[in-house]
Amino acid sequence: MKRELPLMIVLIFGTFMAFQYFVPHRISSDLYQEFNNWTIIIGIFAMVVGIGSLISLHYNRIKFKKPGWGYSTVTIVCLIGMMSIGLIGGTENDLFLKLYRHGLAPVTSTMFSLLAFFIASAAYRAFRARTILATLLLLAAVVVMLGRVPIGEILTGWLPRPLQFSEISNFLLYVPNTAAKRAIFIGVGLGVAAMSLKIILGIERTWLGGEGRK
Protein backbone atom coordinates (compact mmCIF):
# COMPACT_ATOMS: atom_id res chain seq x y z
CA MET A 1 0.00 0.00 0.00
CA LYS A 2 2.95 2.28 0.70
CA ARG A 3 3.73 2.10 -3.00
CA GLU A 4 0.29 1.78 -4.54
CA LEU A 5 -1.25 4.81 -2.82
CA PRO A 6 1.27 7.40 -4.12
CA LEU A 7 1.10 5.80 -7.58
CA MET A 8 -2.70 6.05 -7.52
CA ILE A 9 -2.57 9.72 -6.44
CA VAL A 10 -0.13 10.54 -9.25
CA LEU A 11 -2.27 8.70 -11.82
CA ILE A 12 -5.50 10.48 -10.81
CA PHE A 13 -4.12 13.99 -10.38
CA GLY A 14 -1.68 13.76 -13.28
CA THR A 15 -4.44 12.65 -15.64
CA PHE A 16 -6.81 15.33 -14.36
CA MET A 17 -4.27 18.15 -14.73
CA ALA A 18 -3.40 17.02 -18.26
CA PHE A 19 -7.02 16.85 -19.41
CA GLN A 20 -8.55 19.80 -17.56
CA TYR A 21 -6.69 22.15 -19.93
CA PHE A 22 -9.03 20.99 -22.69
CA VAL A 23 -12.25 21.17 -20.61
CA PRO A 24 -13.58 24.75 -20.55
CA HIS A 25 -16.12 24.09 -17.78
CA ARG A 26 -16.62 25.84 -14.43
CA ILE A 27 -16.19 22.63 -12.38
CA SER A 28 -12.94 21.81 -14.16
CA SER A 29 -11.65 25.35 -13.59
CA ASP A 30 -12.64 25.36 -9.88
CA LEU A 31 -11.00 22.00 -9.26
CA TYR A 32 -7.89 23.18 -11.05
CA GLN A 33 -7.75 26.25 -8.80
CA GLU A 34 -8.18 24.10 -5.72
CA PHE A 35 -5.37 21.74 -6.77
CA ASN A 36 -3.11 24.71 -7.42
CA ASN A 37 -3.72 25.86 -3.85
CA TRP A 38 -2.84 22.37 -2.61
CA THR A 39 0.42 22.56 -4.54
CA ILE A 40 1.38 25.74 -2.67
CA ILE A 41 0.53 24.14 0.70
CA ILE A 42 2.53 21.00 -0.13
CA GLY A 43 5.39 23.23 -1.29
CA ILE A 44 5.42 25.04 2.06
CA PHE A 45 5.80 21.68 3.84
CA ALA A 46 8.70 20.91 1.48
CA MET A 47 10.26 24.20 2.58
CA VAL A 48 10.02 23.09 6.22
CA VAL A 49 11.73 19.81 5.30
CA GLY A 50 14.42 21.77 3.44
CA ILE A 51 15.12 24.07 6.39
CA GLY A 52 15.24 21.06 8.72
CA SER A 53 17.72 19.31 6.43
CA LEU A 54 19.90 22.45 6.18
CA ILE A 55 20.02 22.84 9.96
CA SER A 56 20.79 19.15 10.50
CA LEU A 57 23.61 19.18 7.92
CA HIS A 58 25.32 22.26 9.39
CA TYR A 59 24.69 21.19 12.98
CA ASN A 60 26.57 17.94 12.33
CA ARG A 61 29.45 19.85 10.71
CA ILE A 62 29.75 22.07 13.78
CA LYS A 63 29.33 19.16 16.21
CA PHE A 64 32.13 17.09 14.65
CA LYS A 65 34.29 20.15 13.81
CA LYS A 66 34.46 19.19 10.12
CA PRO A 67 36.47 21.46 7.75
CA GLY A 68 34.61 24.72 7.21
CA TRP A 69 32.51 24.36 10.38
CA GLY A 70 32.92 28.10 11.01
CA TYR A 71 30.92 28.86 7.85
CA SER A 72 28.23 26.47 9.05
CA THR A 73 27.98 28.49 12.28
CA VAL A 74 27.50 31.68 10.26
CA THR A 75 24.80 29.95 8.16
CA ILE A 76 22.84 28.79 11.20
CA VAL A 77 23.18 32.07 13.09
CA CYS A 78 22.03 34.05 10.02
CA LEU A 79 19.16 31.66 9.29
CA ILE A 80 17.82 31.68 12.83
CA GLY A 81 18.57 35.39 13.34
CA MET A 82 16.77 36.62 10.21
CA MET A 83 13.88 34.20 10.73
CA SER A 84 13.38 35.30 14.36
CA ILE A 85 13.55 39.03 13.55
CA GLY A 86 11.13 38.57 10.65
CA LEU A 87 8.71 36.46 12.67
CA ILE A 88 8.72 38.75 15.71
CA GLY A 89 8.84 42.19 14.10
CA GLY A 90 7.49 41.49 10.61
CA THR A 91 9.31 41.98 7.34
CA GLU A 92 8.86 45.77 7.44
CA ASN A 93 10.59 46.28 10.78
CA ASP A 94 13.64 48.50 10.88
CA LEU A 95 16.22 45.93 11.97
CA PHE A 96 15.07 43.38 9.40
CA LEU A 97 15.30 45.98 6.61
CA LYS A 98 18.70 47.21 7.81
CA LEU A 99 20.07 43.66 7.79
CA TYR A 100 18.68 43.21 4.29
CA ARG A 101 19.97 46.53 2.92
CA HIS A 102 23.35 46.54 4.64
CA GLY A 103 24.01 42.80 4.91
CA LEU A 104 22.35 40.63 2.30
CA ALA A 105 22.22 43.19 -0.52
CA PRO A 106 25.95 44.13 -0.56
CA VAL A 107 27.02 40.49 -0.12
CA THR A 108 24.98 39.19 -3.06
CA SER A 109 25.88 42.19 -5.25
CA THR A 110 29.57 41.62 -4.53
CA MET A 111 29.34 37.92 -5.34
CA PHE A 112 27.71 38.64 -8.70
CA SER A 113 30.03 41.50 -9.63
CA LEU A 114 33.07 39.27 -9.13
CA LEU A 115 31.87 37.35 -12.18
CA ALA A 116 33.15 40.10 -14.47
CA PHE A 117 36.71 39.49 -13.32
CA PHE A 118 36.49 35.71 -13.61
CA ILE A 119 34.86 35.90 -17.05
CA ALA A 120 37.63 38.22 -18.28
CA SER A 121 40.31 35.85 -17.01
CA ALA A 122 38.50 32.76 -18.36
CA ALA A 123 37.98 34.40 -21.77
CA TYR A 124 41.70 35.16 -22.03
CA ARG A 125 42.64 31.55 -21.28
CA ALA A 126 39.84 29.69 -23.08
CA PHE A 127 39.36 31.52 -26.40
CA ARG A 128 42.22 30.10 -28.45
CA ALA A 129 42.00 29.45 -32.20
CA ARG A 130 43.26 25.86 -31.85
CA THR A 131 40.82 24.29 -34.35
CA ILE A 132 38.32 25.51 -36.96
CA LEU A 133 35.40 25.07 -34.56
CA ALA A 134 37.25 26.87 -31.77
CA THR A 135 38.04 29.70 -34.22
CA LEU A 136 34.37 29.99 -35.19
CA LEU A 137 33.40 30.15 -31.51
CA LEU A 138 36.07 32.75 -30.87
CA LEU A 139 34.96 34.94 -33.79
CA ALA A 140 31.29 34.69 -32.81
CA ALA A 141 32.16 35.61 -29.22
CA VAL A 142 34.21 38.63 -30.27
CA VAL A 143 31.56 39.87 -32.72
CA VAL A 144 28.73 39.49 -30.18
CA MET A 145 30.82 41.00 -27.39
CA LEU A 146 31.55 44.10 -29.46
CA GLY A 147 28.28 44.16 -31.38
CA ARG A 148 26.19 44.31 -28.21
CA VAL A 149 27.91 47.45 -26.92
CA PRO A 150 28.21 50.92 -28.49
CA ILE A 151 31.95 50.48 -29.16
CA GLY A 152 31.00 48.04 -31.93
CA GLU A 153 29.06 50.86 -33.54
CA ILE A 154 32.09 53.16 -33.37
CA LEU A 155 34.49 50.53 -34.76
CA THR A 156 32.35 49.33 -37.66
CA GLY A 157 29.73 52.04 -38.13
CA TRP A 158 31.46 53.23 -41.32
CA LEU A 159 31.16 49.80 -43.00
CA PRO A 160 28.13 48.77 -45.13
CA ARG A 161 25.29 47.78 -42.77
CA PRO A 162 25.49 43.96 -43.24
CA LEU A 163 29.17 44.08 -42.20
CA GLN A 164 28.66 46.09 -39.03
CA PHE A 165 29.24 44.18 -35.77
CA SER A 166 25.78 45.05 -34.44
CA GLU A 167 24.13 43.59 -37.56
CA ILE A 168 26.26 40.43 -37.57
CA SER A 169 25.63 40.04 -33.84
CA ASN A 170 21.86 40.36 -34.42
CA PHE A 171 22.06 37.80 -37.22
CA LEU A 172 23.94 35.36 -34.95
CA LEU A 173 21.36 35.79 -32.19
CA TYR A 174 18.31 35.63 -34.47
CA VAL A 175 19.33 32.82 -36.82
CA PRO A 176 21.94 30.24 -35.68
CA ASN A 177 21.21 30.83 -31.99
CA THR A 178 17.43 30.56 -32.44
CA ALA A 179 17.76 27.45 -34.61
CA ALA A 180 19.93 25.68 -32.04
CA LYS A 181 17.85 26.79 -29.04
CA ARG A 182 14.60 25.79 -30.70
CA ALA A 183 15.95 22.33 -31.45
CA ILE A 184 17.02 21.99 -27.82
CA PHE A 185 13.68 23.28 -26.49
CA ILE A 186 11.69 20.92 -28.70
CA GLY A 187 13.86 18.01 -27.56
CA VAL A 188 13.48 19.00 -23.92
CA GLY A 189 9.72 19.49 -24.35
CA LEU A 190 9.25 16.05 -25.86
CA GLY A 191 11.46 14.56 -23.14
CA VAL A 192 9.44 16.21 -20.39
CA ALA A 193 6.16 15.03 -21.94
CA ALA A 194 7.48 11.45 -22.25
CA MET A 195 8.85 11.47 -18.69
CA SER A 196 5.58 12.91 -17.30
CA LEU A 197 3.63 10.19 -19.07
CA LYS A 198 5.94 7.53 -17.66
CA ILE A 199 5.49 8.92 -14.12
CA ILE A 200 1.70 9.21 -14.46
CA LEU A 201 1.44 5.64 -15.75
CA GLY A 202 3.75 4.33 -13.01
CA ILE A 203 6.47 3.16 -15.40
CA GLU A 204 9.03 5.54 -13.93
CA ARG A 205 9.13 5.05 -10.16
CA THR A 206 12.47 6.35 -8.99
CA TRP A 207 10.69 9.37 -7.43
CA LEU A 208 9.30 6.92 -4.84
CA GLY A 209 12.82 6.43 -3.48
CA GLY A 210 13.87 3.02 -2.09
CA GLU A 211 10.25 1.88 -1.84
CA GLY A 212 9.76 2.50 -5.55
CA ARG A 213 12.06 -0.27 -6.72
CA LYS A 214 10.30 -3.21 -8.24
Partner: protein, 268 residues
Amino acid sequence: MKIDRRWIYLAIGIVVFIPMLVYLGFPIRVTKEVRSVYERIDSLPPGTVVMVPMEYDPATMAELQPLAYAVLRHCFSKDLKVITTSLQIEGVTIIKEDLEMIAAEYGKKYGIDYVFLGYKPYPGIVILNMGENFRKPFPRDYYGNELDSLPMMKGVYNYSSCALILNINATSGVDYWINYANGRYKAPLAIGVTGVMVSDYYTFLSSGQIFGLIGGLKGAAEYEKLINHVDLACRAMDVQSIAHSVIVLFIVIGNIAFFATKKRKKSI
Protein backbone atom coordinates in the same frame (compact mmCIF):
# COMPACT_ATOMS: atom_id res chain seq x y z
CA MET B 1 52.53 33.63 -22.87
CA LYS B 2 51.04 33.50 -19.43
CA ILE B 3 49.65 36.64 -17.86
CA ASP B 4 49.08 36.44 -14.12
CA ARG B 5 45.31 36.58 -13.69
CA ARG B 6 45.72 39.36 -11.15
CA TRP B 7 46.89 41.70 -13.96
CA ILE B 8 43.68 40.89 -15.81
CA TYR B 9 41.64 41.61 -12.66
CA LEU B 10 43.48 44.91 -12.22
CA ALA B 11 42.91 45.93 -15.85
CA ILE B 12 39.19 45.14 -15.60
CA GLY B 13 38.97 46.99 -12.29
CA ILE B 14 40.53 50.10 -13.83
CA VAL B 15 38.44 50.09 -17.00
CA VAL B 16 35.27 49.60 -14.99
CA PHE B 17 36.11 52.35 -12.53
CA ILE B 18 37.30 55.18 -14.78
CA PRO B 19 34.29 55.43 -17.16
CA MET B 20 32.07 55.56 -14.07
CA LEU B 21 33.59 58.93 -13.23
CA VAL B 22 33.46 60.42 -16.74
CA TYR B 23 30.40 60.08 -18.99
CA LEU B 24 31.61 59.49 -22.54
CA GLY B 25 28.20 59.17 -24.17
CA PHE B 26 28.87 56.43 -26.70
CA PRO B 27 26.16 56.19 -29.41
CA ILE B 28 23.36 53.73 -28.71
CA ARG B 29 21.43 52.17 -31.58
CA VAL B 30 17.87 51.10 -30.75
CA THR B 31 17.00 47.55 -31.80
CA LYS B 32 13.59 46.55 -33.14
CA GLU B 33 12.87 44.21 -30.21
CA VAL B 34 13.20 47.10 -27.73
CA ARG B 35 11.45 49.60 -29.97
CA SER B 36 8.41 47.29 -30.26
CA VAL B 37 7.97 47.37 -26.46
CA TYR B 38 8.32 51.14 -26.37
CA GLU B 39 5.87 51.67 -29.23
CA ARG B 40 3.30 49.31 -27.75
CA ILE B 41 3.38 51.08 -24.38
CA ASP B 42 3.49 54.49 -26.01
CA SER B 43 0.38 53.77 -28.05
CA LEU B 44 -1.79 53.00 -25.00
CA PRO B 45 -4.33 55.64 -23.98
CA PRO B 46 -4.04 57.18 -20.47
CA GLY B 47 -5.76 55.12 -17.76
CA THR B 48 -4.96 51.76 -19.38
CA VAL B 49 -3.88 49.05 -16.95
CA VAL B 50 -0.53 47.39 -17.60
CA MET B 51 1.22 44.75 -15.58
CA VAL B 52 4.94 45.05 -14.86
CA PRO B 53 6.00 42.09 -12.69
CA MET B 54 9.59 42.55 -11.54
CA GLU B 55 11.83 39.75 -10.35
CA TYR B 56 15.37 40.83 -9.60
CA ASP B 57 17.48 40.89 -6.48
CA PRO B 58 20.58 42.74 -5.26
CA ALA B 59 22.79 40.45 -7.39
CA THR B 60 21.10 41.36 -10.65
CA MET B 61 19.94 44.82 -9.64
CA ALA B 62 22.77 46.57 -11.51
CA GLU B 63 21.41 45.28 -14.82
CA LEU B 64 17.67 45.28 -14.33
CA GLN B 65 17.01 48.21 -12.02
CA PRO B 66 17.82 50.80 -14.74
CA LEU B 67 15.37 49.02 -17.02
CA ALA B 68 12.69 48.99 -14.32
CA TYR B 69 13.20 52.72 -13.79
CA ALA B 70 12.97 53.47 -17.51
CA VAL B 71 9.84 51.37 -18.03
CA LEU B 72 8.07 52.74 -14.94
CA ARG B 73 8.96 56.31 -15.98
CA HIS B 74 7.48 55.65 -19.41
CA CYS B 75 4.28 54.14 -17.96
CA PHE B 76 3.75 56.87 -15.37
CA SER B 77 4.51 59.66 -17.85
CA LYS B 78 1.79 58.21 -20.08
CA ASP B 79 -0.63 58.07 -17.10
CA LEU B 80 -0.93 54.31 -17.34
CA LYS B 81 -1.98 52.32 -14.31
CA VAL B 82 0.61 49.81 -13.18
CA ILE B 83 0.16 46.49 -11.36
CA THR B 84 3.36 44.99 -10.03
CA THR B 85 4.30 41.74 -8.34
CA SER B 86 7.63 40.38 -7.21
CA LEU B 87 7.78 36.61 -7.26
CA GLN B 88 11.39 36.42 -6.15
CA ILE B 89 11.74 36.72 -2.39
CA GLU B 90 15.16 38.40 -2.25
CA GLY B 91 14.03 41.34 -4.35
CA VAL B 92 10.69 42.29 -2.83
CA THR B 93 12.01 45.17 -0.69
CA ILE B 94 14.07 46.66 -3.53
CA ILE B 95 11.21 46.46 -5.99
CA LYS B 96 8.74 48.02 -3.56
CA GLU B 97 11.15 50.91 -2.98
CA ASP B 98 11.88 51.34 -6.71
CA LEU B 99 8.17 51.46 -7.50
CA GLU B 100 7.47 53.97 -4.72
CA MET B 101 10.40 56.16 -5.77
CA ILE B 102 9.46 56.41 -9.47
CA ALA B 103 5.75 56.82 -8.62
CA ALA B 104 6.66 59.72 -6.29
CA GLU B 105 8.67 61.34 -9.12
CA TYR B 106 5.45 61.58 -11.15
CA GLY B 107 3.17 62.35 -8.19
CA LYS B 108 1.31 59.06 -8.54
CA LYS B 109 -0.90 57.78 -5.74
CA TYR B 110 -0.94 54.24 -4.41
CA GLY B 111 -4.14 52.34 -5.12
CA ILE B 112 -5.23 54.87 -7.75
CA ASP B 113 -2.29 54.86 -10.16
CA TYR B 114 -0.34 51.79 -9.11
CA VAL B 115 -0.66 48.66 -7.01
CA PHE B 116 2.02 46.40 -5.56
CA LEU B 117 0.74 42.89 -4.96
CA GLY B 118 3.98 41.68 -3.39
CA TYR B 119 5.33 38.16 -3.13
CA LYS B 120 3.84 34.68 -2.97
CA PRO B 121 5.87 31.49 -3.18
CA TYR B 122 5.84 29.16 -6.20
CA PRO B 123 5.80 31.56 -9.16
CA GLY B 124 4.39 29.03 -11.64
CA ILE B 125 1.29 28.43 -9.55
CA VAL B 126 0.88 32.12 -8.71
CA ILE B 127 1.08 33.08 -12.41
CA LEU B 128 -1.52 30.43 -13.27
CA ASN B 129 -3.82 31.62 -10.49
CA MET B 130 -3.49 35.28 -11.50
CA GLY B 131 -4.67 34.21 -14.94
CA GLU B 132 -8.00 33.29 -13.30
CA ASN B 133 -8.20 36.18 -10.86
CA PHE B 134 -5.60 38.36 -9.14
CA ARG B 135 -7.59 37.94 -5.93
CA LYS B 136 -6.94 34.18 -5.75
CA PRO B 137 -3.22 34.34 -5.01
CA PHE B 138 -3.37 37.93 -3.70
CA PRO B 139 -6.58 38.57 -1.75
CA ARG B 140 -4.61 41.44 -0.19
CA ASP B 141 -1.81 43.59 -1.59
CA TYR B 142 1.71 43.90 -0.14
CA TYR B 143 0.51 46.47 2.43
CA GLY B 144 -2.39 44.32 3.60
CA ASN B 145 -5.19 46.21 1.79
CA GLU B 146 -7.98 44.12 0.29
CA LEU B 147 -7.72 44.34 -3.49
CA ASP B 148 -11.38 45.30 -3.80
CA SER B 149 -10.77 48.29 -1.54
CA LEU B 150 -8.28 49.78 -4.05
CA PRO B 151 -9.98 52.06 -6.62
CA MET B 152 -7.56 50.99 -9.37
CA MET B 153 -8.46 47.32 -8.99
CA LYS B 154 -12.21 47.84 -9.60
CA GLY B 155 -13.04 45.82 -12.68
CA VAL B 156 -9.50 44.49 -12.94
CA TYR B 157 -9.64 40.74 -12.55
CA ASN B 158 -6.93 38.96 -14.48
CA TYR B 159 -4.52 39.28 -17.39
CA SER B 160 -7.35 40.07 -19.78
CA SER B 161 -7.87 43.33 -17.85
CA CYS B 162 -4.29 44.37 -18.66
CA ALA B 163 -3.26 45.75 -22.04
CA LEU B 164 0.09 44.01 -21.75
CA ILE B 165 2.53 42.35 -19.39
CA LEU B 166 6.16 43.40 -19.31
CA ASN B 167 8.06 40.98 -17.12
CA ILE B 168 11.44 42.22 -15.88
CA ASN B 169 13.10 39.05 -14.71
CA ALA B 170 16.53 37.81 -13.74
CA THR B 171 15.44 34.24 -13.04
CA SER B 172 14.26 31.24 -15.01
CA GLY B 173 10.81 32.19 -13.70
CA VAL B 174 10.41 34.12 -16.95
CA ASP B 175 9.60 30.74 -18.56
CA TYR B 176 6.46 30.53 -16.41
CA TRP B 177 5.30 33.89 -17.75
CA ILE B 178 5.84 32.68 -21.31
CA ASN B 179 4.31 29.24 -20.78
CA TYR B 180 1.37 30.25 -18.61
CA ALA B 181 0.60 33.97 -18.94
CA ASN B 182 1.09 33.95 -22.71
CA GLY B 183 0.73 30.25 -23.57
CA ARG B 184 -2.33 29.51 -21.49
CA TYR B 185 -3.99 32.90 -21.01
CA LYS B 186 -2.84 34.52 -24.28
CA ALA B 187 -1.67 37.69 -22.50
CA PRO B 188 0.45 39.98 -24.72
CA LEU B 189 3.86 39.58 -23.15
CA ALA B 190 7.26 41.25 -23.43
CA ILE B 191 10.27 40.46 -21.29
CA GLY B 192 13.30 42.23 -19.94
CA VAL B 193 16.08 39.86 -18.91
CA THR B 194 19.76 39.99 -17.99
CA GLY B 195 22.47 39.97 -20.66
CA VAL B 196 23.43 36.35 -20.06
CA MET B 197 19.81 35.20 -20.41
CA VAL B 198 18.92 37.11 -23.53
CA SER B 199 20.14 34.58 -26.12
CA ASP B 200 17.68 32.02 -24.70
CA TYR B 201 14.65 34.14 -25.56
CA TYR B 202 15.15 35.14 -29.21
CA THR B 203 13.39 31.93 -30.14
CA PHE B 204 10.21 33.14 -28.36
CA LEU B 205 10.51 36.50 -30.06
CA SER B 206 10.62 35.04 -33.55
CA SER B 207 7.75 32.67 -32.75
CA GLY B 208 5.62 35.64 -31.63
CA GLN B 209 5.12 34.37 -28.09
CA ILE B 210 6.67 37.58 -26.83
CA PHE B 211 6.27 40.87 -28.68
CA GLY B 212 9.43 42.44 -27.31
CA LEU B 213 12.74 41.55 -25.71
CA ILE B 214 14.87 43.92 -23.69
CA GLY B 215 18.26 42.41 -22.97
CA GLY B 216 20.38 43.54 -20.05
CA LEU B 217 21.91 46.97 -19.68
CA LYS B 218 22.07 47.45 -23.44
CA GLY B 219 18.30 47.07 -23.67
CA ALA B 220 17.82 49.39 -20.71
CA ALA B 221 20.08 51.99 -22.35
CA GLU B 222 18.05 51.73 -25.57
CA TYR B 223 14.87 52.26 -23.58
CA GLU B 224 16.37 55.27 -21.81
CA LYS B 225 17.24 56.71 -25.19
CA LEU B 226 13.69 56.12 -26.44
CA ILE B 227 12.09 57.90 -23.46
CA ASN B 228 14.74 60.62 -23.71
CA HIS B 229 15.92 60.21 -20.13
CA VAL B 230 19.65 59.42 -19.93
CA ASP B 231 20.28 57.69 -16.63
CA LEU B 232 22.11 54.71 -15.13
CA ALA B 233 21.98 52.39 -18.15
CA CYS B 234 23.37 54.84 -20.71
CA ARG B 235 26.21 55.70 -18.33
CA ALA B 236 26.88 52.02 -17.67
CA MET B 237 27.10 51.31 -21.40
CA ASP B 238 30.34 53.31 -21.47
CA VAL B 239 31.72 51.00 -18.79
CA GLN B 240 30.53 47.90 -20.60
CA SER B 241 31.91 49.10 -23.94
CA ILE B 242 35.40 49.64 -22.59
CA ALA B 243 35.38 46.48 -20.46
CA HIS B 244 34.33 44.37 -23.48
CA SER B 245 37.06 45.98 -25.59
CA VAL B 246 39.68 45.15 -22.97
CA ILE B 247 38.49 41.53 -22.81
CA VAL B 248 38.72 41.30 -26.62
CA LEU B 249 42.19 42.81 -26.42
CA PHE B 250 43.24 40.14 -23.94
CA ILE B 251 41.82 37.44 -26.24
CA VAL B 252 43.82 38.86 -29.17
CA ILE B 253 47.03 39.00 -27.08
CA GLY B 254 46.42 35.43 -25.93
CA ASN B 255 46.02 34.22 -29.51
CA ILE B 256 49.05 36.07 -30.81
CA ALA B 257 51.10 34.50 -28.02
CA PHE B 258 49.58 31.09 -28.79
CA PHE B 259 50.58 31.22 -32.47
CA ALA B 260 54.02 32.63 -31.69
CA THR B 261 54.70 29.79 -29.26
CA LYS B 262 53.42 27.25 -31.80
CA LYS B 263 55.70 28.65 -34.50
CA ARG B 264 58.69 28.65 -32.16
CA LYS B 265 58.05 25.03 -31.18
CA LYS B 266 57.86 24.03 -34.87
CA SER B 267 61.15 25.77 -35.71
CA ILE B 268 62.89 23.95 -32.80
